[in-house]
């Protein structure tokens, strides 16, 4: 199916009803999802970008947080699998006053929906949904907990660019404390045998984060970015949430860019490393303009891969069968 070797051999992967986080997946299942995505990647390059794998199924994108990229990616993925897609965006400010999550979800399910893709500001919201619905639930990002499809597309991108995940050294820079991308990233990476260095000011490093590693000792924390760059294979600056400026996590954009921005000088400290970013990027803050657009950037590739990875996730978690591609 793909020319890329898998990290874990040919053991059979099993998938549960829901995808709530990479924490719950075996390394074999992660690899199987990446392998399926390899097959789906080609579909996006055809003139007719559609396969019938989920024909007749209904997928609902239930988004409680504004999101363009992830919602669009899931929507395209479902459509390319021939599923019917419904997008529901709930205004976050109405959450407290309005209908509760369980009631909303049950109403959706009463319309015979197969899969609910949920994005929510509250960590654990997808689990609450999963416990109360027969439908499959896919987590599209919950608070600072997990963003499993982002974690998968990052692994997929590394595997394609560097040929493997095992043994890579990945530097994740920024507000780890508030980042679901960092959590799913470090769980997925350490599950497949990579080493992770988390870098940021102490205000942005949550207590005990290194103990989230799937393999003890595979995650290290540091505050000096230059020192963390030697031998790195992947640099992944996180989006700086500018609204947290003076919150008081960091003094301001300028100081942040000086200490933690990825620019050409820092890039030269990690020769051979690729640059990734979960988007949307703040040019000139966490990543320099010419780095974002530079030849070592695979940022747009991540977006392309995101659709293929989400096709794989929808396929495995919506009871898809038959023709894959």
């Amino acid at each position: 199916m793909s020319a890329v070797a898998t990290d874990t051999g040919a053991a059979t992967a099993t998938f549960g009803k829901d995808l709530l986080g990479l924490k719950d997946l075996s390394a074999v299942a992660v690899t199987a999802l990446l392998d399926t995505a390899e097959g789906f990647l080609e579909v996006g390059t055809r003139s007719v970008k559609k396969v019938p794998a989920l024909r007749g199924r209904t997928v609902v994108n239930l988004f409680y947080e504004p999101s363009t990229r992830t919602r669009t990616s899931f929507e395209l993925a479902a459509k390319r699998l021939s599923a019917d897609v419904l997008n529901i965006t709930v205004n976050a400010s109405s959450v407290v006053k309005g209908e509760g999550l369980i009631d909303t979800a049950r109403n959706i399910e009463a319309m015979n929906v197969d899969t609910v893709v949920i994005r929510h500001a509250a960590a654990g919201a997808p689990q609450l949904l999963a416990e109360n619905l027969q439908s499959h639930v896919i987590n599209a990002g919950d608070g600072a907990h997990e963003h499993p499809t982002q974690g998968l597309l990052d692994l997929f991108t590394m595997r394609r660019a560097l040929g493997r995940v095992k043994g890579l050294t990945v530097v994740i820079v920024g507000d780890i404390a508030h980042s679901r991308v960092a959590r799913s990233g470090l769980i997925g990476l350490t599950k497949l045998g990579a080493h992770v260095r988390l870098v940021g000011p102490p205000t942005m490093i949550p207590m005990g984060i290194e103990r989230l590693a799937e393999t003890p000792g595979s995650v290290r924390v540091g505050h000096d970015l230059d020192a963390a760059l030697a031998g790195a294979d992947v640099l992944m600056p996180l989006r700086l949430q500018l609204e947290r400026q003076g919150a008081p996590l960091f003094p301001g954009k300028r100081e942040y860019a000086l200490r933690y921005g990825i620019d050409q000088r820092r890039l030269s400290l990690a020769p051979g490393a690729i640059v990734m970013h979960p988007g949307p990027i703040n040019r000139g803050v966490e990543i320099a303009h010419d780095v974002a657009d530079g030849e070592r950037s695979v940022i747009l590739g991540q977006v392309t891969h995101g659709v293929a990875v989400r096709m794989a996730v929808l396929y495995h978690y919506s009871g898809g069968q038959g023709e894959l591609a």
């Binding site: 924490k23 959450v95 960590a123 654990g124 919950d142 608070g143 997990e146 679901r180 207590m207 005990g208």
Partner: protein, 450 residues
């Protein structure tokens, strides 16, 4: 009315009496007359007279004093009522209950105090002592009318869930409370540091992606409260404390001879923050559940008496309020019916002897709050007592928490120490044999059928 209500004499035979306030831990028979303890004797010395309760193989304890419960009435009746609380208290062997003032309206006036006391009297199942608010409306701008609150029978004043952020205001409240002769109960928390936290800040919060409340939030507040109580000369009860650091601060204050005491709740002695894995809102409480090291320090402090009072911190919610996203769920769990069993579980696990465990619910609060009429079964005391079978177990059903099943992490679990009977003023207000009983605020149910 039936025989039990009309007969003023009750004889309890064959039980093992544990009454730390009276220094008793031995087999004993008891005779009750007109709602009070008339005689406590060696086994076999009393005639079988009046209503006879066979307590063979069971333990007879003074009714428990619970110094921290949220009865929710008035204002939040969908979470619970005084009658619900009375039912659960009787089931859990509690006969004296402090009602926290954060109701709506707040308990800062004679009107609300008397309303709560009267509701409890109507149930006939538990004595309720309303705790007054330290400031009017708990808004922390004007002192409450503490003198009148004392005259109404308030045993203490409290800042529950609305900490007084101004140290000057807190100082004045403590000083004024000293003048009216009431101790102050403070729930330690630094609002600025707790911020938007929803659980203990540590490995589990990091894994769940939830905002944390550091132990320091509690400890800063404990340290400030001790310093201000020393300045004001006021008797201070800090509860619940939940961290090893708070234990050290309280131990130091007590060593220095300050009039400071501390309490905690059974759930902090059994559950760690790991209980929240899976986003279990039933175990979302404030202060939050802590890691194992804090739990161990707290257990040691309860055993050695640094923490001299246990209380339920009963704070129930409607199921639909708990069945939401974790960060949106309210803090608090039900605790009245499970308090004694969870304390007996500590005894079973070897944390402390039975007499000390009972003392934390009887002698301890009796001393701290100078309660003349509760916490002992010495001759002349009100016949408020509970009879427990330590060898039996019981299952926690939704009924045990007045239907609020999502307000207890022990739902469906089995705990040791079934309460066989609870007596209030010599009348049986709970009897485990009557498993189909309706809550005791129905008068016909407050009667024992031998």
């Amino acid at each position: 009315m039936s025989d039990g209500m009309d007969n003023p004499v009750v004889t309890i035979l064959g039980g093992h009496l544990v009454d730390p306030a009276a220094g008793v831990d031995a087999p004993a028979d008891l005779r009750i007359e007109n709602g009070r303890i008339a005689r406590v004797t060696a086994p076999g010395a009393l005639p079988r007279e009046g209503q006879v309760i066979d307590a063979a193989g069971r333990h007879v304890l003074p009714g428990l004093i619970d110094t921290h419960a949220h009865l929710r009435e008035p204002g939040h009746e969908h979470k619970g009522t005084v009658a619900d609380a009375a039912f659960q208290a009787a089931m859990g062997g509690i006969t004296c209950l402090f009602a926290m003032p954060n109701t709506d309206p707040v308990c800062d006036s004679r009107a609300v105090c008397e309303m709560v006391i009267n509701r409890a009297r109507q149930t006939g199942a538990v004595r309720v002592l309303p705790v007054g608010a330290m400031t009017r409306g708990m808004e922390n701008r004007v002192l409450s009318e503490m003198g009148e609150l004392a005259a109404c029978g308030c045993p203490a004043l409290a800042d529950a869930w609305a900490p007084i952020e101004s140290s000057q205001m807190f100082r004045r409240a403590l000083e004024y409370a000293r003048g009216v002769g009431l101790p102050v109960i403070t729930v330690p928390q630094d609002l600025g540091l707790s911020a938007d936290g929803v659980m203990h800040e540590g490995d589990v919060a990091t894994r769940l992606g939830l905002a944390g409340i550091p132990a320091a939030s509690e400890e800063i507040s404990v340290a400030r409260a001790i310093a201000l109580a020393e300045l004001a000369g006021c008797r201070l009860h800090i509860a619940p404390i939940t961290t090893a650091g708070s234990v050290r601060l309280v131990a130091d204050a007590r060593r220095r001879g300050l009039d400071v005491s501390a309490g905690t709740a059974p759930h902090y002695l059994h559950l760690t923050d790991a209980a929240l894995i899976g986003y279990a809102t039933a175990a979302k409480v404030y202060p939050p559940l802590r890691p194992r090291t804090d739990l161990e320090a707290l257990r040691a402090a309860v055993a050695d008496g640094t923490v001299s009072v246990l209380s339920s911190c009963h704070a129930p919610h409607a199921d639909y309020e708990k069945a939401v996203e974790f960060s949106l769920a309210p803090f608090g769990m039900a605790g009245l019916s499970t308090a004694l069993s969870l304390t007996l579980l500590l005894v079973k696990e070897g944390v402390l002897p039975l007499s000390s465990a009972v003392a934390r619910w009887t002698h301890g609060p009796r001393e701290v709050f100078a309660l003349a009429d509760a916490g002992t079964l010495a001759e002349g005391s009100p016949a408020d007592l509970t009879i427990v079978d330590l060898s039996s177990t019981w299952e926690i059903t939704p009924r045990a928490v007045a239907g609020h099943g999502l307000s207890t992490p022990w739902l469906g679990q089995t705990l040791p120490g079934r309460v066989c009977q609870t007596l209030l003023g010599g009348k049986i207000v709970h009897d485990s044999q009557r498993s189909t009983a309706v809550p005791p605020h129905h008068p016909e149910d407050a009667v024992h059928h031998a």
